[in-house]
């Protein structure tokens, strides 16, 4: 994708890196580290200066690092069915102490290289070097990787001090999501889904740690009833009490207000960034937003996240002025990408879109995380509005709003095997998009984290079909315009 990285993107990457690094430092210093669901009211934890990690963000990162499958299988070996959400499986395997590790030869202390890994070796002229013995391209040894195996931190911990222990510790993959500290407490909010409730209960049980729960009942109306607000407000108070007990500190009103102000500013800036996709052609690839989601999830209550989004805004403004874009191809069609991407298969998702000049200019995460509030009751209402906690009318309204504003020509729907509440009413939504907006929709089967559930051939065919339908629509419109 984009070869040069703008200051805004660099700043956003640093924010997430720092969140993880701070948590590792905190853990090393004996401070508490929590794990939280992505749409738990982070403002509460911020008021206590707690270091919090986000398993959903972690699982997406592990999947994007190609370790989704092996971690999912590790969870299955623990007894978790392969029907369960891929994020949950990855997270539960991790919570149980399982780690994706580089295969070791304990005698030599070296990693065992997978001969099928790596990229072809190229000579100084950029030509692929052929191995005269096999007649096949030679591999560039620098790009070859060790086999991935599952190791267990509890097993490693039980080893006597010495060489094997050190080697196995060092063999655990070094990327940040595989180095996330184990939790001392968990923060669960089930506005995203009810699977979250049992997922976090399992973590609490595995690690024998306290669970702080915020229950947001599913809502059947666009408005959030006062009775729901009262129920959730009371839970905020209960959660604050639990956090006071956990930390031995008093709830700091000022810090809380500061976190709220940051969360609002991050949300506003996130929305502004998302709104740049309204430009035609867009100054960025909509896929970029999926990466920037990490900041909204892990750091929306922090000044740094709000600042970094401001920087990104400046980059995009610059792109508009210069007529440039992070999209590495000319934009011919604009689509809404419905759902979470298939993280392990991002290049495969991108490929046919690139071939057909399709830019993703709308994602439902834009409105879903762009929530702004002025007081505690509004904050409660804001947390009631997660993609899977709202009624179909609200869901359609969000999506059709961004489809119109961002001028999409079609919708690509990910039927995400991992996400039953999300995929559960997509068929009806597809019908509404077509009826209300006159745009074609195409669905494909995939998974946010488990690559075994993605069928590339089907995806390619569906994208092709969508492009043909968008083309036909375009021709028709051009005919009408004449």
């Amino acid at each position: 994708m984009a070869k040069t990285v703008s200051p805004g993107v660099l700043a956003l990457r640093k924010v997430v890196e720092d969140v993880y690094a701070d948590a590792r430092t905190a853990k090393a210093e004996g401070k508490l580290v929590g794990w939280s669901s992505s749409k738990f009211p982070c403002e509460l934890a911020e008021a206590f200066d707690l270091n919090v990690m986000y398993p959903e963000n972690q699982a997406a990162g592990i999947a994007a690092n190609r370790d989704g499958e092996i971690m999912c299988k590790a969870a299955e070996d623990l007894g978790f069915d392969n029907d369960i959400c891929g994020y949950a499986r990855i997270s539960l395997a991790y919570a149980a102490g399982k780690r994706a590790s580089r295969k070791l030869d304990l005698e030599t202390g070296e990693y065992v290289i997978d001969p099928t890994s790596g990229k072809p070796l190229k000579d100084e002229n950029g030509n692929v070097v052929i191995d005269p013995e096999t007649g096949k391209p030679k591999k560039d040894p620098k790009t070859m990787q060790p086999y991935t195996v599952i190791d267990d931190i509890h097993e490693i911990e039980a080893l006597p001090e010495g060489r094997e222990k050190e080697l196995r510790k060092a063999a655990i993959k070094p990327y940040r999501q595989m180095q996330m500290p184990q939790p001392d407490f968990v923060l669960c909010c089930n506005n995203i889904c009810n699977c979250m409730t049992k997922w976090y209960e399992n973590i609490a049980r595995m690690c024998n740690i306290p669970l702080i729960m915020i229950d947001i009942p599913y809502n059947n109306t666009v408005e959030v009833a006062d009775t729901n607000v009262a129920y959730i407000r009371s839970q905020f108070d209960a959660a604050i009490k639990q956090l006071e007990e956990l930390t031995g500190k008093k709830f700091d009103e000022k810090k809380f207000e500061h976190a709220c102000a940051n969360a609002n500013r991050t949300a506003q800036n996130w929305l502004k960034v998302c709104d740049y996709l309204q430009y035609k052609p867009a100054p960025m690839s909509g896929f970029d937003l999926f990466n920037h989601m990490a900041d909204v999830v892990t750091a929306r209550g922090k000044t740094e996240a709000a600042d970094a989004f401001e920087l990104l805004e400046q980059d995009l403004e610059e792109n508009i002025k210069n007529g440039t874009s992070t999209l590495p191809f000319p934009e011919q069609y604009r689509v809404m990408f419905e759902g979470i991407p298939c993280w392990p298969k991002l290049p495969n998702l991108f490929k046919p879109l690139k071939e057909n000049g399709v830019n993703v200019t709308a994602v439902v995460y834009a409105p879903a995380f762009g929530f702004v509030y002025n007081n505690m009751d509004e904050m409660v209402r804001a947390y009631c509005k997660a993609p899977n906690s709202v009624c179909i009318e609200q869901g359609v309204d969000w999506r059709e709003g961004i489809c119109k504003a961002n001028k999409v020509d079609g919708v690509l729907v990910h039927y995400n095997r991992s996400c039953k509440p999300w995929s559960g009413y997509m068929a009806e939504m597809q019908r509404r998009f077509t009826a209300d907006l006159g745009i074609p929709c195409a669905g494909f089967d995939g998974d946010q984290a488990d690559p075994r559930n993605f069928n590339e051939a089907q995806y390619m065919t569906r994208v092709q079909g969508l492009v043909e339908a968008m083309e036909a629509n375009k021709t028709l419109k051009e005919g009408e315009d004449k």
Partner: protein, 378 residues
Amino acid sequence: MSTEILLNEFKEISEHPYKVLSQYKQEGKKVIGVLPYFAPVELVVAAGMVPMGIWGSNKKTIALAKEYCATFYCTIAQLALEMLLDGTMDQLDGIITPTICDTLRPMSQNIRVAMSEKLPCIFLAHPQYRKPAFGLQFTVDQYTHVKKELEKISGTAITDEALREAIKVMNRSRAARRAFVKLASDHCDVITAVKRSAVLRAAWFMEPVVFAEKLEALNAELAQLPVADWKGKKIVTSGIICDNPKLLQIFDDNQIAIAADDVAQESRSFRVDASEEGDPMMALAQQFADQDYEILLYDEHSSQNRRGEFVANLVKKSGAQGLVLFMQQFCDPEEMEYPYLKKALDEAGVPHIKLGVDQQMRDFGQANTAIQAFAEVL
């Protein structure tokens, strides 16, 4: 009435709910469909209407519901929608759609959309914080919504008195079912697995008073019989639902009796009574709060393995030698709880098997082999 006649009546009703529904309609009664789980049927009874449980179907195939659902959805929910779409449920006067699991959340929307011109859909979102005052209040708020919607359908106000009476009726039905489960184990030579299921399933389709009376009569008959001198094996069943006669026939064919169950459609639905005193709406909320050891509900003591240990104990107390878990395909909550259920069973020395099932299964060859092999090791 003899045991045999009563059992046949339950069997007929269990196998032909459509006939039962048609009969209620001919009698001029209003009928409310009730989807899983934990809907306060007392409100339906208090409104003078008949609650009719909808737990999918063992006979239908998913066709029309495909217009709404991807393939990876629980067949109970999909077949419930199928029956709403194909006209089987056209005689209903309304339906209650609880949303306690991730499949039922979007399904409540699909049903509302699909039935918009046919049937009033009554939405119900239970709280996961059931016990604190704010949780009880929220349950009351939700049940008040259900009550108002039911009153619109019935055309009459639900009085506290009527509701208290309905609570008494449902408590009576639940008590009869609890007693029956014990008697069915003691008299497993008479109450085979297939017959046991038919009785418990019929409860979802019959008027509660009529059901309670008939079951009390059956219980009285059973109590007269000598306790079975059972030479076969005894097990506990667990899962969301296990009411397919063909599947249960495997138990009967292999001399395996059901000593007790941890099944959502069976004992999990009648473990807890509501208070017959005080504010009846609060009594219903408290009844929901008292539900425990449930895969669908939040456990405040989640760092302990309370549910797993409860089920392991149930097996031991019931005198069963093992547990058969019917894992409903695509049921996240059940699947999420499995590793810790297994842990508790293993620690208690209770052997178990896990069988994957769904309601479109017609061939039980594999289940047969697995159950036979399991019986041999017990």
